[in-house]
C-alpha cells in the first residue's frame, strides 16, 4: 500500500554541471530516507585502454578525460611518470607547470562562479540570461575567464587539451615577450577577481554548515597545486604514495557506485573548501585580508559559500601567475631527459575541484601495465549525498519545486565534473 506521506522528488537531468547526472530524493514520514546522485555518464574505460600505451602518450590521452580540467590530468600524469623513473623537474620548468595550472584554475573557477553557480543565488536559469540584469558582473567574469584561457593558450598551445605538456617538462618553453601580454591581462583579471569576490559575498547564503573531513595537499611554502603531502582536517598526513592505505573506493549496499571513503571513517571532502581550510596560512596576505573583509574565517564549512572561496582562489591564481611571470627566465632545456624503467609512480595534484590522484605501473620500456585514476568528483560523491539529505531536511515543509531547486544548488556547490569521474556508475534508485 502506498504511504501517503511518502514522496519522491526527481531531477532527471541536472543542469549546469559538467556531465550527465540525476538526483533522486525520497522523503517518508517527514524525513529524508534517501538522497541519491545518479550518474549516467557512460563509462569510457581510460584505465583499460591505457594498458600497453607508452608513457610519452600519457599526457595527451589523460587530458581527454575532462575538457574542463585537462591540465589537472596532465599534471598528475607527468608527476607520476617522473616519480616512477626517478626524475626531478625543478626551477623554471616547475614554475611553468604552476603557471599553466593557474590558467586552468582561473578559467575553470570563473566559468563555475558566473555561468554555473551565481545564477542559483540570483534566481536565473543561467549566466547568459543573468547578464540582462547583471551585465557588468557577467562580462567582467568572462574577461577574467578569458585571461585564464589566454594563459593556457600561450603556455599550453590551446585552452582545451593543451599540447605542450610532456614528461620532464614541455615541448617548447615560452619566451618572456610571449608572456608579457598575458601578464597585462592577468593584472586586470586580478582586479576583476577582487571585485567579483566582493560581489558574490553579498549573495543570500542558506545558514548551513557541515562538519567535513577536509582533504587536500599541503606544501611547506606554497598554496598547493602540483606537490605536497596529503593531509586532512582530522589526522591524515601521508605521502601521496600511501593514498591507498588511507582511502578506498567501496561498493555501497544496494548501490553500484564506487564511493571514495576514508577507510577508518567514511566520507570526506576535496576541492576549494578543503584546500582553503588546510592552507589558509599559505595564501598571500592580501588574499587573507580580502577573506576577512568579506566575512570569511580561515575555515569555511558552509558549502554554499564555496563560491566565495573559489573567488579567493581566483585572486590567488592571478597573483601567483603574475609572480611567476615576473620571475620567469626561459630555461635552457624545455624538458629534463627521461629514461624509462620498470616501476610504479604516483601523482596527485589539485584540480580545480580537488585532488586528482594517479598511479601507474610501468614496464621497463615505459609501457603502462596498470593505471588507476581517482578523480575529484567521485571522491566527493558520498559527501554530496550527505549534504543533500541534510539540506533537504531543512526545507521539507516547502513545495517540491523549492526542495528540488535547493538540492540542485547543493550539488552545484561542488562544481561536480561528472565527465571526469571515471568511477561514477549508475546508482540504484533506492537505498536503505
Amino acid at each position: 500500500m502506498a504511504d501517503k506521506t511518502t514522496k519522491t522528488i526527481r531531477v532527471d537531468y541536472l543542469a549546469r554541471v559538467e556531465g550527465e547526472g540525476a538526483l533522486d530524493l525520497e522523503i517518508s514520514d517527514g524525513r529524508v530516507v534517501s538522497a541519491e546522485l545518479r550518474i549516467f555518464e557512460p563509462p569510457r574505460f581510460f584505465e583499460a585502454f591505457l594498458r600497453g600505451r607508452g608513457y610519452a602518450e600519457l599526457p595527451d590521452i589523460v587530458a581527454r578525460i575532462c575538457g574542463i580540467c585537462p591540465i589537472a590530468y596532465q599534471m598528475s600524469a607527468v608527476h607520476a611518470i617522473e616519480n616512477a623513473f626517478g626524475v626531478k623537474v625543478d626551477g623554471q620548468l616547475r614554475a611553468l607547470r604552476r603557471l599553466i595550472y593557474c590558467g586552468e584554475w582561473i578559467e575553470s573557477h570563473a566559468l563555475h562562479v558566473v555561468m554555473l553557480h551565481a545564477p542559483d543565488f540570483l534566481g536565473f536559469p543561467d549566466g547568459i540570461r543573468m547578464a540582462r540584469d547583471h551585465g557588468e558582473a557577467v562580462r567582467n567574469t568572462l574577461t577574467l575567464k578569458k585571461a585564464g584561457n589566454e594563459l593556457m593558450r600561450v603556455v599550453g598551445g590551446r585552452e582545451i587539451h593543451p599540447v605542450n605538456v610532456k614528461a620532464g617538462g614541455f615541448h617548447r618553453v615560452p619566451t618572456r615577450s610571449e608572456l608579457a601580454p598575458v601578464a597585462e591581462s592577468l593584472a586586470r583579471a586580478r582586479d576583476l577577481a577582487i571585485g567579483m569576490v566582493r560581489w558574490v559575498a553579498t549573495f543570500p547564503f542558506p545558514d548551513f554548515e557541515q562538519d567535513y573531513e577536509f582533504v587536500a595537499l599541503r606544501h611547506p611554502d606554497e598554496y598547493p597545486l602540483n606537490e605536497g603531502r596529503l593531509v586532512s582536517s582530522r589526522d591524515i598526513d601521508i605521502d601521496i604514495a600511501d593514498f591507498e592505505t588511507e582511502f578506498e573506493e567501496r561498493h555501497v549496499a544496494h548501490s553500484t557506485a564506487l564511493h571514495s571513503l576514508v577507510k577508518r571513517r567514511g566520507a570526506y571532502l576535496v576541492g576549494p573548501l578543503a584546500r582553503y581550510a588546510l592552507n589558509f596560512d599559505r595564501l598571500p596576505a592580501s588574499v587573507r585580508e580580502l577573506a576577512r573583509e568579506v566575512g570569511l574565517d580561515s575555515v569555511c564549512r558552509n558549502p554554499f559559500k564555496s563560491i566565495i572561496v573559489r573567488g579567493l582562489e581566483l585572486v590567488f591564481a592571478c597573483d601567483e601567475a603574475l609572480r611567476l611571470i615576473a620571475a620567469y627566465e626561459p630555461p635552457d632545456l624545455a624538458a629534463v631527459p627521461i629514461e624509462p624503467r620498470a616501476g610504479t609512480g604516483f601523482g596527485c595534484t589539485e584540480a580545480p575541484r580537488g585532488i586528482c590522484w594517479h598511479r601507474y605501473d610501468f614496464q621497463a620500456d615505459g609501457s603502462i601495465e596498470r593505471a588507476r585514476i581517482v578523480p575529484p568528483t567521485s571522491q566527493n560523491q558520498p559527501t554530496i549525498e550527505a549534504d543533500l539529505a541534510a539540506v533537504a531536511t531543512t526545507v521539507l515543509d516547502q513545495p517540491d519545486d523549492v526542495i528540488r531547486h535547493r538540492c540542485e544548488q547543493t550539488i552545484r556547490n561542488y562544481d561536480p565534473c561528472i565527465s571526469c569521474a571515471t568511477h561514477f556508475l549508475k546508482l540504484t534508485v533506492r537505498r536503505t
Binding site: P42, R64, D126, A131
Partner: protein, 257 residues
C-alpha cells in the same frame, strides 16, 4: 516585425565535455551570440530547458550505450539542422579503442562488479546512427570554426571550413616543418582546423583532427620509419582520438595495432 530567433540545442553523448565547453569559451562572442540565437536546450549552461523542435542542434560525444542509441534518434527528430562537433561525435573518440578489444576485459579492468555496467561493445560516431547535416572535426574543436559554423547557419550559407591537411596550415603560419628537423609528424595526413598548433610548439602533429580526405598514410608511415619510428610507435599514433576513423584504423592495423 522582429523575426523569432532560431532555437539552439546542445546535446551530450560519451565525451569529455570539452567541445561544448568551446561554446562557453567564446568569451567575446557569447553574449552577442545569445542575442542572435535562442539557447533553448543547453543543460551544461542552463537549467531552463525549452521543448523542441530545435532549429540548430550541436551534438557532442559518441554512442556507447543502448539508451544513447535510442536518444540520438529522438534528437534527430527534434532537430532541423544537426551538426556533430568533435572527434567523439564524428569518429567515435578515444573510447572507440574498445571496438578493437574485448569490452568485457575493459569493464573488468576498471570496475569490480562488471555485471552492473551497461555498455555497448563499440563506440560509434553519430553518423553511424542518423543523418548528419554537418561534421566539425577536432579533439577538441576549434572555437573559431564553431562560431563560423553557427554564423554560416544563421546566414543560410555553407560554412567556410578548409578540408586540406595540417601541412597547409603550417605553411600559412610560417612554421618550420618539424619533419625536416627529424620529428615524426601526422600533419601530412591530418585534417586541418587546429591551426598547426603542435608544430608551432616543436612537436609533431598527433592527429587529433582525424584523417583528411584521401590521406596517404602508408607513405607517411614509411617516412616515420626513416626517422626511427618503430612499428609500435606507428600503430599507437594512429590509434588515439580518431582511432576508429577508417584511414587511421587501417594504418594502425598494418603496423600491428
Amino acid at each position: 516585425m522582429k523575426a523569432q530567433r532560431p532555437r539552439l540545442a546542445v546535446w551530450k553523448f560519451a565525451s569529455c565535455d570539452g567541445c561544448q565547453l568551446s561554446l562557453l569559451d567564446c568569451e567575446d562572442e557569447l553574449l552577442t551570440l545569445a542575442g542572435a540565437i535562442e539557447i533553448a536546450n543547453f543543460p551544461e549552461a542552463s537549467s531552463l530547458i525549452l521543448d523542441g523542435p530545435y532549429d540548430l542542434s550541436l551534438v557532442e560525444g559518441s554512442i556507447t550505450t543502448a539508451h544513447d542509441a535510442e536518444r540520438i534518434q529522438m534528437v534527430r527528430q527534434q532537430s532541423k539542422f544537426l551538426v556533430t562537433i568533435g572527434a567523439c561525435a564524428t569518429a567515435g573518440g578515444i573510447q572507440a579503442l574498445r571496438n578493437f578489444a574485448d569490452v568485457d576485459d575493459y569493464i573488468a579492468a576498471v570496475y569490480a562488479s562488471p555485471k552492473y555496467i551497461s555498455t555497448l561493445a563499440t563506440s560509434t560516431p553519430i553518423s553511424a546512427h542518423i543523418a548528419v547535416d554537418y561534421e566539425l572535426r577536432g579533439c577538441p574543436i576549434n572555437k573559431a570554426q564553431l562560431i563560423e559554423v553557427i554564423s554560416a547557419y544563421l546566414a543560410g550559407r555553407k560554412p567556410s571550413i578548409a578540408a586540406h591537411s595540417v601541412c597547409i596550415e603550417c605553411k600559412q603560419r610560417g612554421a618550420v616543418c618539424v619533419m625536416v628537423q627529424g620529428t615524426p609528424c601526422l600533419g601530412p595526413v591530418t585534417h586541418a582546423g587546429c591551426g598547426a598548433i603542435c608544430p608551432s610548439f616543436r612537436r609533431g602533429c598527433y592527429g587529433c583532427y582525424g584523417p583528411m580526405e584521401t590521406p596517404n598514410t602508408a607513405a607517411l608511415a614509411c617516412e616515420w620509419q626513416v626517422l626511427g619510428a618503430t612499428p609500435r610507435d606507428i600503430a599507437r599514433v594512429f590509434s588515439t582520438f580518431n582511432a576508429a576513423a577508417e584511414a587511421f584504423r587501417k594504418e594502425s592495423k598494418a603496423h600491428g595495432g
